[in-house]
């Protein structure tokens, strides 16, 4: 073979190599080797591989609804709390003070129903006959407990009353009916501002209403300006420090009220374009405020991890303060269903376990 031919082959190989440098692509994530290098060994627990839909704290213990069961961590390990009866599934979780409440789904003679129970030690007891119990409507159930961040004296109850109709209740030790007639959007999130509670009700088709109540009286509709009620709400949270409310939407926008009454939402969303992560437009959900290393941040759950924003800021971003190299964690690829915060701590319930971002001289993100 002639030297020129060998040289030609080498040139072709070199050109292939150089051209492939510019055609290379990775549409998702921060980089293969960067991710591998930053990956930390995740500890395994009873809840580490389960979807964690709700996180609440009661007394000195942490409770989660993971999968179809309730788990408790008293500071040493996770333990499963058996359901009231074999075969019952936990579908919602709430707390008042140090008392834990859960909705369990049961099946009797082929008929499904949801009932609220309260935890006494390690066993559940039915709350009372006056608490709404829901039978399946069109084959599906809906009795859910809506807790309020930073107010453990109350939770709200969303009850599905018919095909596309709902009624609301509250429970603060006593039971209160909050709707005089059925409404067409379920409550998905609640916040407190002063003495008023705000219930964000929304359905997937894009119809939202903001209600307010003192916790025991019938809700009234807040006539909002600046918030597009045609959007589906992801969550509501309060900034008690500055007297503002925040609303997140499922299409990636964050709104901030300029008053504590939830009326004036300015001229539109804080972000002019939908928030995006490495996988595209972010679907925003639950929110919580946390005092993290002396600064207050709004934490916003999303379908791929979460966002954070200094409360003095105007633009939510992927975490840099509450988690270093966030995009290298599997959490950045997992849907976040629930947030629960304490000073310097953010509990993050994801579709693959419970995560904790804790500040102790520096941010540490680990799986619980």
């Amino acid at each position: 073979m002639k030297i020129e031919n060998i040289f030609s082959y080498l040139v072709i190989l070199a050109l292939l190599f150089v051209s492939s440098l510019f055609t290379a692509c990775n549409v998702n994530g921060p980089g293969i080797f960067y991710t591998i290098y930053n990956e930390k060994k995740i500890s395994e627990s009873l809840v580490s591989d389960k979807p964690v839909y709700k996180v609440v704290s009661a007394g000195s213990s942490l409770y989660v609804r993971a999968g179809a069961a309730v788990y408790k961590n008293d500071g040493t390990a996770w333990n499963k709390i058996d359901p009231p009866s074999a075969g019952m599934r936990a579908v919602s979780l709430g707390r008042i003070g140090s008392a834990i409440y859960a909705v369990y789904e049961s099946e009797a003679s082929g008929a499904l129903s949801d009932t609220i129970y309260t935890l006494s030690g390690t066993s559940w007891s039915k709350l009372s006959d006056t608490v709404p119990a829901v039978s399946a409507i069109d084959g599906s159930l809906n009795l859910s407990l809506i807790t309020v961040d930073h107010d453990n004296n109350i939770f709200f109850i969303n009850q599905r009353t018919g095909s596309g109709t709902y009624s609301f209740y509250s429970f603060d030790g006593s039971f209160h009916t909050l709707t005089s007639e059925d409404v067409s959007q379920p409550v998905i999130s609640a916040a407190v501002s002063g003495v008023n509670y705000f219930l964000a009700a929304s359905n997937i088709s894009g119809s939202s209403v903001l209600y307010t109540t003192n916790g025991s009286s019938t809700v009234t509709t807040v006539i909002t300006t600046g918030f597009d009620t045609a959007k589906t709400i992801g969550g509501i949270s309060e900034d008690a420090l500055n007297g503002n409310l925040y609303l997140s939407t499922r299409d990636g926008y964050l709104y901030k009220s300029s008053d504590a009454a939830g009326v004036d939402w300015g001229t539109g969303s804080l972000n002019s374009t939908a928030l995006t992560d490495s996988y595209g437009t972010a679907c925003l959900g639950d929110m919580a405020v946390v005092d993290y290393n002396g600064t207050d941040y709004l934490i916003i759950a999303a379908d791929n991890g979460y966002f954070e924003m200094d409360l003095t800021g105007t633009s939510p971003e992927l975490p840099t303060v509450t988690a270093e190299n966030f995009e290298t964690y599997e959490l950045s690829q997992e849907a976040v269903f629930s947030l629960y915060t304490e000073t310097d701590k953010i509990y993050i319930g994801s579709d693959n376990g419970l995560w904790l971002s804790e500040y102790s001289g520096g941010p540490a993100l680990d799986k619980e």
Binding site: I6, L13, S20, N26, G29, I32, F33, Y34, Q333
Partner: protein, 200 residues
């Protein structure tokens, strides 16, 4: 005693000029000529070495505690364009595991040029390959390039079959521009394995 017998047997076999590549005058006679083809199968260990991050400090990071020892396998076809030089194509695959048991996979398709050094009944092909590689971990996939220099040592059992060891160095660039440019990296790996080659 068994060990000594085994070693003697091995040395005897290896020293046999079964299909000697030396003619009666002592000159090397290549078993290959222009148009000769080989089909080679490789299998062995995949050894992560280090990552090089040009934009970070420190820039060289060991893969220890980040990627496990893995496995590799490949299929290769080559054609000789002279009695010493061959051109070929190789499809390979590797796997190794991250600390949380995510599987890291590399699937390169490379063009390959090799030069064969004959040493008695042995052959030492030295080669260089480059091409495209699928690089995957968890739900991230990167399509990029790869460089694979290496060498083999073959013992020719007969005119058709040769067996030996192959070692290759893998350089896997992962180049980003713009916001992610700091995450540009070069993975450095090695594979060592057994090879079986069929000559036709």
């Amino acid at each position: 005693m068994k060990k000594i017998l085994f070693l003697l047997l091995l040395l005897t076999i290896l020293s046999l000029p079964v299909f000697a590549q030396i003619d009666s005058s002592g000159e090397y006679v290549s078993p290959y000529s222009k148009g000769s083809q080989t089909f080679t199968m490789n299998g062995g260990l995949f050894i992560p070495l280090f990552f090089y991050f040009p934009a970070l400090s420190p820039s060289v990071e060991s893969t220890k505690d980040h990627l496990s020892l893995g496995g590799t396998g490949s299929l290769e076809w080559s054609m000789f364009i002279s009695d010493r030089i061959s051109l070929g194509i190789e499809l390979a695959g590797t796997f190794s595991f991250t600390p949380n048991m995510n599987t890291h996979v590399l699937i390169p398709l490379t063009g390959k040029i090799a030069y064969v050094f004959p040493v008695g009944s042995f052959e030492i092909p030295v080669f260089f390959g480059t091409g495209l590689a699928v690089n995957k971990v968890a739900n991230q996939v990167y399509f990029g390039t790869i460089l694979k220099p290496g060498a083999s040592v073959y013992w020719n059992m007969n005119l058709r079959w040769g067996f030996g060891l192959t070692a290759q160095y893998w350089i896997v660039p992962e180049v980003y521009f713009g916001d992610k440019s700091d995450n540009t990296s070069f993975g450095n790996f090695m594979d060592i394995g057994f090879s079986a080659r069929y000559h036709f």
